[in-house]
């Protein structure tokens, strides 16, 4: 990039950086797309100066788990619209899953994604499939994909049922230091389930997905990583049992990391029959149908209130390393169908940070922990050394938040092409006001 980036001085903000254990009022100077200096009362000649009094300045949030739908499903989302949603939600880097059409299982698709991403305001990190066509039969050409720019491997949405193949995938990926992001699910136990196998399923006759379907596969995955002494990342933990397995694995020294989504941290199976889930929704925005609203349908499903509490505890104590959205855009008519016919998934990019700020408000996380779970650790999991912190020399990827700003979730105002959020009408406090990528302001409220 030959074009010069104007230097930017951000004054008087509250800088919160987990990597440096920094939380206080500092100025930060961004030059040539990198963090140049942090200090109190910095006197530097900047091309532009912004006074951020009362605002929080965070290392840009990094989402380990989004679906951008391009190529193939551009009517749901494109790389551009997804990246716009990302920066509006404070994410400066997003790792996109491989289940596009064609599937990102070869270097040509990876290169296409990166080419499209050149026009995108956020940094787009392609995740390649683990197996060809995600069929669970043959490994992708990992070396070629890494060379093309793949940051990790995942057959997300599916598991790799063949344990020997999963073993070889873990072994081979370790050659490149790239993690496998595992969507853990025993297909036979998952069967034709649509919601958590619990009280709501029992009472409403909806086919259940037992917690066991997830936990059995998490156990298998962790056991493989332990045996092979390689790292593995578990996608979207949703159950107490899954948390226990990760916790025990970590205690034994297994290199296992895990993520949780905002929806699993805020909603329980109750949302299937009452999407409001105890929240007082904005009257004008409240969905007409709160019972059997298909925006309560995702995989893994919303679990019990006890699971929600356990996820929050695990997020606080570090068993869960990262908040990831599993941003899964679907077109409106695809979700406006019978509950069992609706696709799994909800969007998350534009609500995640505000919900995480609510976890801070509720005392679940400290501001430093929030930064750790949304920036520092996701960067570490993907092995990205140039981001996840505001230390000198790091990429100037920043999220600026007004912690007091009150707003209501209105999907019509999303940058994402999709509207399938379970949080419509929620009143949130804390909002992204500016997002900076490589020293450039890419989003302003």
């Amino acid at each position: 990039m030959s074009e010069t980036i104007p230097s930017l001085l951000l004054k008087n903000g509250r800088l919160i950086d987990a990597a440096q254990a920094l939380d206080g009022k500092f100025d930060i100077f961004l030059v040539d797309g990198k963090v140049s200096k942090i200090g109190i009362g910095l006197e530097v000649a900047a091309d532009r100066t912004l006074d951020l009094e009362g605002l929080w300045v965070l290392p840009g949030a990094i989402d380990l788990h989004v679906h951008l739908r391009e190529p193939g499903y551009e009517y749901k989302e494109t790389i551009l619209s997804g990246a716009q949603a990302a920066v509006a939600g404070g994410f400066t880097s997003i790792a996109c899953m491989a289940n596009t059409m064609p599937i990102n299982d070869n270097a040509a698709v990876t290169r296409f994604i990166l080419e499209q991403a050149r026009a995108a305001p956020a940094k787009v990190l392609p995740i390649a499939a683990i197996t060809r066509a995600m069929q669970g039969e043959v490994l992708v050409e990992m070396g070629d994909l890494v060379a093309a720019g793949a940051v990790a491997f995942s057959d997300d949405g599916k598991t790799v049922p063949d344990s020997k193949l999963l073993r070889h995938a873990l072994e081979y990926a370790s050659l490149f230091g790239k993690p496998l992001l595992c969507h853990c699910q025993d297909n036979a136990l998952f069967a034709d389930g649509v919601i958590h196998e619990g009280m709501i399923a029992a009472q409403h006759g909806l086919a259940g997905i037992p917690a066991l379907a997830e936990e059995i596969d998490i156990a298998r995955t962790i056991m493989l990583a332990e045996y092979l002494k390689v790292p593995v990342h578990i996608c979207h933990l949703s159950t107490r049992g899954g948390i226990a397995l990760v916790r025990q694995g970590k205690a034994r020294g297994v290199r296992v990391t895990a993520e949780a989504t905002p929806h699993h941290l805020f909603l329980s199976e109750e949302a299937v029959v009452d999407l409001a889930c105890g929240e007082t929704l904005d009257e004008d925005l409240k969905p007409a149908m709160l019972c059997y609203n298909t925006n309560s349908k995702m995989s893994p499903p919303l679990r019990t209130a006890a699971d929600v509490a356990a996820l929050r505890q695990a997020l606080a104590d570090g068993t869960i390393d990262a908040i990831a959205t599993d941003h899964a855009p679907h077109e409106a008519t695809e979700k406006a169908v019978e509950y069992d016919l609706a696709p799994f998934g909800v969007v998350g990019l534009e609500t995640a940070l505000a919900l995480a700020l609510r976890l801070v408000r509720e005392g679940v996380l400290t501001p430093l922990q929030l930064v750790a779970r949304m920036s520092q650790t996701p960067a570490a999991i993907l092995g990205l050394n140039d981001r996840g912190s505001l230390a000198t020399g790091m990429a100037a990827d920043l999220t600026i938040v007004d912690p007091e700003c009150e707003w209501v979730v209105d999907p019509e105002k999303f940058y994402s092409k999709a509207r399938n959020t379970p949080f419509t009408g929620w009143r949130l406090q804390g909002r992204v006001v500016r997002t900076i990528v490589d020293g450039r302001v890419v989003f302003s409220l």
Partner: protein, 309 residues
């Protein structure tokens, strides 16, 4: 007092008063079946659409007869003859129907919540005639009507429901309606067909064996076992199922001597119920069918005939 709803989607959220209103109204419609001219003008000029996405003979016929006896115009649409097979969405299908200004739509669909989806989308009244394994409210209400001819509905009464509870909308609607009236419900199924957590519902007792469920009950409801469940590994064979869970004379003797035997139909004779029990004095299975018409007349009348516009 009365019944003021746009739709009847389930028994789950019906109050005891609403249930009684429906049953009283149904009681008054029973007599019409005995007249030489089986017709009243209550819903003259109203259009009732039976929108059935699942095959059904008896429920659809029952609704059709109920509508016609109320002088409504009844139209039957089954999925095989509609545009659904062409890939049209449910809401598009319903929008097209709505454009023809029906007053009441009776819906049967394999998906849980389909009737709710439709009801939330259109102005016509919607009657749920079965949504997946969720609810089949008119079946439960006609069952109550049938029981009430023999027993007093209320606390002290004990009802056993035996069969594939997990996949049964009849079981769920009966559980809600019966427990709302303070009636104790015992459910019994092979563990593979018993959803986890039912025992947490107030008024519901879960029994492992039919002998336990039948002991001293006033009402026995047998559910139809569906053959396709066998393919899904939920039980080894019909023979095995019949041996352990089938209702026969010997097992029925465990219930109160004046217990009545019910079945929502269609029956698999020799599987969930033996022929001698199905044809016995204690069986009220055909009364259920007769009462179905009266109960559905009451439902259509209360939704379409008065109050709600």
């Amino acid at each position: 007092m009365g019944f003021r709803r746009k739709d009847l989607l389930g028994t789950r959220d019906l109050s005891a008063d609403e249930i009684r209103t429906l049953l009283e109204s149904a009681e008054s419609f029973k007599e019409i079946a005995e007249r030489p001219l089986k017709k009243v003008p209550a819903l003259r000029g109203k259009t009732v659409v039976n929108l059935f996405f699942e095959p059904s003979t008896r429920t659809r016929t029952s609704f059709e007869i109920a509508a016609k006896r109320l002088s409504a115009d009844a139209v039957n649409i089954s999925a095989s003859t509609s545009s659904v097979v062409k890939g049209e969405s449910l809401l598009d299908t319903v929008d097209n129907l709505q454009a023809m200004a029906p007053d009441i739509i009776v819906v049967r669909h394999k998906s849980v919540g389909a009737a709710h989806l439709i009801a939330g989308h259109i102005g016509a009244s919607v009657v749920n005639a079965g949504d997946g394994a969720n609810e089949h409210p008119t079946q439960a209400l006609l069952d109550l009507l049938t029981i009430s001819a023999h027993k007093k509905l209320g606390p002290g009464l004990r009802v056993a429901i035996i069969g594939d509870i997990a996949h049964s909308r009849v079981a769920r609607s009966n559980i809600w309606a019966l427990t709302t009236l303070g009636i104790t419900v015992r459910v019994c199924a092979p563990p593979t067909m018993l959803p986890r957590g039912l025992e947490n519902i107030k008024g519901v007792e879960v029994c492992r064996r039919p002998e336990e469920a039948l002991d001293g009950v006033d009402v026995v409801m047998m559910l139809r076992i569906q053959l396709e469940r066998q393919d899904r590994l939920l039980f080894p064979s019909l023979r095995d199922y019949a041996a352990i869970f089938g209702l026969n004379r010997r097992r029925l003797a465990l219930a109160r001597p004046d217990a009545i035997v019910m079945h929502p139909g269609p029956m698999n004779r020799g599987v969930e119920i033996t022929s001698d029990v199905a044809d016995s004095e204690q069986a009220v299975i055909l009364s259920q069918v007769s009462n179905g018409v009266a109960l559905r007349m009451a439902v259509l009348f209360l939704l379409g005939g008065q109050g709600h516009e």
